[in-house]
């Protein structure tokens, strides 16, 4: 089983090593903490964008409430990932907690796109190993980045762009999966609006607020249209 799980998670290995290293390098070059704090964060937090954001929060000495809100808001998209896995994780026992803990963008996309057999317990074991493999790649990346940044001369200026590139790639993947550009333009327009009218520290939560309101209106309109359609079609 481990061999097939490794093959399945290989793209994640190639994605998580440089991204984990980007985090580790950022952590080591911008902060004064011991190097092993970086892999510790990979073990306990396990969030790509979240951990890179954490570096700037640590650098700014952010308050703990601010940290909670910022991390929660940045990862708020995960709120909806579980919706597609409610059934698959049912009855997974002690594994369920780790499966939920490890639900990153990449784990989520693997778990929801791979073919499944009828034996749910077996499939949950595979899910568990996929999650564990992914997290080990991530922790190795965090470690390498944090250690190498201290010991090897390497101009890492600009490496944080990996995060922006990841968001762009995920946006395109979302568009491909949905086949609808409306939510993409809504998100981009909300970001533009927030950047103009809201100070930088609150732009993310502001933009997500705008997006949620637009989507609620969108829901009400499509519901009303659906009802109209039912009436007119008798």
């Amino acid at each position: 089983m481990n061999h097939s799980v490794f093959r399945l998670t290989l793209p994640i290995l190639f994605g998580y090593l440089p991204l984990g290293m980007a985090f580790g390098v950022l952590f080591a070059t911008q902060l004064d903490f011991a190097w092993w704090i970086a892999p510790l964060m990979g073990i306990l937090i396990f969030a790509g964008a979240g951990q890179i954001l954490a570096v700037s929060l640590l650098a700014a000495g952010a308050g703990l409430v601010e940290v909670f809100v910022a991390m929660f808001v940045l990862n708020a998209r995960h709120l909806f990932y579980g919706l597609s896995l409610l059934g698959q994780f049912r009855g997974a026992g002690w594994r369920k907690l780790y499966l939920i803990f490890g639900l990153t963008d990449e784990t989520y996309s693997l778990l929801t796109s791979r073919p499944r057999g009828a034996d749910r317990a077996y499939e949950q074991t595979v899910d568990f190993r996929i999650t564990a493999f992914n997290q080990s790649y991530w922790v190795i990346g965090c470690t390498l980045g944090a250690v190498l940044a201290d010991n090897v001369v390497f101009d890492s200026t600009g490496i944080e762009f990996a995060l922006v590139a990841l968001f762009i790639v995920l946006t395109l993947e979302q568009f491909k999966a949905l086949g609808d550009s409306f939510p993409i333009w809504t998100g981009a327009a909300a970001a533009g609006t927030a950047m103009v009218v809201i100070p930088p520290a609150h732009q993310l939560i502001g933009a997500i607020g705008i997006v949620t309101m637009v989507l609620l209106l969108h829901y009400r309109r499509s519901e009303a249209r659906r009802k109209d359609g039912e009436v007119s079609h008798g």
């Binding site: 590139a165 790639v169 995920l170 997006v211």
Partner: protein
């Protein structure tokens, strides 16, 4: 609060906040999975959030004081879009975009 207490508290809070976003649907939505509003938001919100994160962080990566404002981030950003539409390989798109951004930043081309 000394340095050690702060980093320990910081990691604990960040871990709890991150786990909360992942566990909440399992705690609260399990009974409402079929509600049309839950399905509607579940369907569209991730795409919107991804797009707004891309736009906001792209803007923050750009230098707006150079001879051609913003181009140092827009060019690598466009490269990511084109490469990903062409090849659909996430790693390749991310690596190429990051490498070109690093090159632009480190050589100072485009006045960045």
């Amino acid at each position: 609060m000394d340095e050690t207490t702060y980093i320990a508290a910081f990691i604990a809070v960040a871990a709890v906040a991150t786990f909360a976003t992942r566990v909440i649907p399992f705690l609260f939505f399990e009974r409402h999975t079929d509600h049309p509003l839950v399905q509607h938001l579940g369907r569209y919100l991730p795409a919107s959030v991804m797009a707004l994160l891309a736009v906001i962080f792209l803007q923050r990566s750009a230098s707006w004081t150079g001879s051609v404002p913003g181009l140092d981030a827009l060019v690598p950003g466009l490269l990511v879009v084109c490469l990903h539409l062409w090849r659909g390989n996430a790693l390749l798109s991310i690596a190429a975009g990051t490498a070109s951004y690093m090159m632009l930043k480190q050589t100072g081309i485009l006045g960045a």
